[in-house]
């Protein structure tokens, strides 16, 4: 039971400029586990995730991947240690085609390996020669999701995967995540929408005002409790 966590955020603080948006946050994600980070707008979820993946310099704290300290390393090194990141905004390369978005970093630049994803999301196949900028917001999220999963990392961090995505596709995303979890991949998912959370979360972490205000196993927390932290 004391398997070391795959991804550790250890007492991390940080923000933009002089302000501290995230204050002394710690959380861990273990192999094959999906941790969902919830909270209203502006509480610091995206900021925390950007800090953890190296897009913002942390004012304090350490981030570790499989035991190795990755704090402050350039984000382009993340894939090398097995960490994938899907941002919340500007999620695809608008000027590149769908196909180019997916094959950009592959040596063979072919779409063969993506068949199983195309079967789940046929829309992407149809649009594969179109510029990603012409996709709808939800379709862009799907594209970003597929790109992230296809990177085959051990740890996947996604910021609001279901924003703008239709219900049916959110369910399919959940299925894909579950399948990967079974193989040992760990997920840290920032979400405001419970559709996805209810399907994949093993643990739930709720943030408010830059700090963690609740953390517990998904089964332990009542829906109303979650709602009280999220809604108006």
């Amino acid at each position: 039971m004391s398997e070391p966590a795959l991804f550790e955020i250890d007492h991390v603080s940080g923000g933009y400029g002089s302000g501290l948006v995230v204050r002394d946050v710690s959380l861990t994600v273990g192999r094959g586990e999906a941790v969902c980070l919830l909270g209203r707008n502006g509480v610091g979820k995206s900021t925390l995730v950007r800090l953890a993946c190296g897009f913002l310099a942390a004012a304090a704290g350490t981030v570790r991947m499989a035991g190795a300290d990755i704090t402050g390393q350039p984000p382009s090194d993340n894939l090398g240690v097995g960490l994938t990141y899907c941002p919340q905004e500007r999620v695809v390369f608008d000027d590149l085609t769908v196909a180019e978005n997916l094959t950009l970093m592959r040596a063979d630049r072919r779409l063969d390996g993506f068949d199983r994803y195309f079967q789940v999301f046929p829309r992407l196949t149809e649009r594969r020669r179109q510029h990603a900028g012409t996709l709808s917001g939800g379709e862009k999220k799907l594209l970003s999701f597929v790109r992230g999963l296809a990177e085959g990392s051990a740890m996947v961090v996604i910021d609001e995967p279901s924003e703008g995505v239709q219900f049916e596709n959110v369910v399919r995303m959940a299925d894909l995540i579950a399948a990967r979890k079974a193989g040992g991949t760990a997920f840290l998912v920032v979400e405001q929408n419970l559709t996805l959370v209810e399907r994949i979360a093993d643990r739930i972490v709720i943030m408010d005002h830059g700090e963690i205000v609740y953390t517990g196993a998904a089964g332990d927390v009542a829906r109303d409790e979650i709602l009280s932290h999220l809604t108006v």
């Binding site: 382009s76 990141y85 899907c86 941002p87 500007r90 390369f93 000027d95 590149l96």
Partner: protein
């Protein structure tokens, strides 16, 4: 009479293509990386002097191409490391810093070679008869090279993996890092490619123009404003800018006077800077 018109037409095409070749290096640096390298003309000048030196030393002219690429590439590397990167690729700051760089390079070359004009012998002499008029072979060769290079670059940028990565980095630098593109190195390499190419362009035009330390100053004006009008960051912009500015210069020079052509080009540029600073076909 017809043959004269044909020659004039070829001249216009020649001016446009040569401008495209000269602007290419700047289009890469300014259009993709947002670096206002006002010393671009000096890199061309360095390429021309490299060609002169290579020829003087008795080597075949073609050897000047890799030589200029190396000279300008290395200087570009140093400039990127010590000027561009510390200034965080900011357009305004890099404009200033490269102004100083231009001064520096002009003076250094003046110290080494003196102020006088040097001439570089045309490597491919002779002329070709077109509709009864003799047209210099070398110019035709240059035009062919220009077309090949610009087309090849267009294809490469659109298709090749590195071209796609540059496009990705330019459009969305954060996501580029996220998917594993080392944007710092890619930006550096792109910049160096831009300066190296400027050097090669210098080798190309050296036999056709007086080689002297201040030759970059006349070139930079046309190049800069071709991009301003055509639009930065797209190959279409490069074509459009070269065609409009190069064509305008060429036609007006021949039909009215070089001064009028120059003034017309400046006025057009001012109008664009005033109303449409991003040009006709900017990067979206």
């Amino acid at each position: 009479m017809e043959s004269l018109l044909v020659t004039q037409a070829i001249n216009v095409v020649y001016e446009v293509l040569i401008l495209a070749v000269l602007v290419l290096g700047l289009a890469v640096v300014m259009g993709l990386l947002n670096v206002l390298n006002i010393a671009h003309g000096e890199f061309v000048m360095l390429g021309a002097y490299t060609a002169y030196t290579v020829q003087k030393a008795g080597f075949p002219y073609l050897a000047a191409v890799p030589a200029a690429a190396v000279v300008c590439g290395v200087i570009g590397l140093l400039v990127e490391r010590f000027l561009i990167r510390p200034l965080r690729y900011d357009p305004f700051e890099t404009l200033l810093a490269t102004w100083g760089l231009g001064l520096l390079l002009r003076k250094l070359v003046e110290l080494v070679f003196g102020r006088g004009f040097r001439s570089v012998d045309i490597p491919i002499g002779g002329s070709v008869s077109i509709f009864g008029e003799a047209y210099p072979t070398y110019r035709l060769v240059l035009m062919a090279i220009a077309v090949v290079v610009v087309v090849a670059l267009f294809v490469w940028y659109a298709r090749a993996a590195t071209g796609a990565r540059i496009r990705a980095m330019v459009g969305n630098p954060v996501l580029a890092e996220a998917v594993g593109i080392r944007t710092r190195q890619l930006a550096r390499n792109t910049f160096v490619a831009g300066t190296a190419w400027a050097g090669i362009a210098g080798v190309m035009i050296a036999p056709l123009t007086p080689v002297e330390p201040f030759m970059g100053l006349t070139l930079i004006v046309n190049s800069f404003f071709a991009l301003v009008v055509g639009g930065m960051g797209t190959v279409t912009g490069l074509f459009a800018g070269s065609t409009i500015i190069g064509g305008l210069q060429s036609v007006l020079s021949a039909s009215v006077s070089p001064t009028t052509a120059y003034l017309a080009m400046l006025i057009l540029s001012i109008l664009f800077l005033w109303q449409r600073p991003r040009g006709l076909f900017p990067r979206p």
